[in-house]
Symmetry: C2
């Protein structure tokens, strides 16, 4: 139950999905996270590389957490060969 984020665009898409799933407007999310509606718009469209502070605030407002995970090594699977 985790979604990997490799760039601003993927982050924006994840935010938008989560926001819509909770039936929030950008302005609602903005208020919860103490930022401007315009910023939410920018983030969702991936037109800005938000500060870690901001990323965490917005995710928190969506009841989500940021986490780091080891990059899976794509272990060799003999069954597949």
């Amino acid at each position: 139950m985790s979604l990997t984020i490799r760039n601003n665009k993927e982050f924006g898409e994840a935010v938008r999905r989560a926001r819509l799933k909770q039936n929030l407007r950008q302005v609602d999310l903005a208020r919860k996270a103490s930022v401007r509606q315009a910023l939410i718009s920018d983030l969702e469209n991936g037109t800005t590389s938000a500060k870690l502070d901001t990323v965490i605030k917005v995710l928190a407002a969506l009841d989500m957490d940021l986490s780091i995970i080891p990059r899976c090594k794509a272990a060799f699977d003999p069954v597949k060969y």
Copy 2:
């Protein structure tokens, strides 16, 4: 196998732990991530809120990924009561 990051300090600590585990100096990590050694120092000490771009670059250089996860609801566990 994931570590939650709630602020700059926690991010910095995670970076430092991962770097040391791989026996890298700040300057080594800096080169891999294409940033300055001074920036790695700042990040590890939590004295700056890096841009998402930077966070992802540094984690990638450490073979780690950023991910977002739903905040666990601390489900009621009857066994505990």
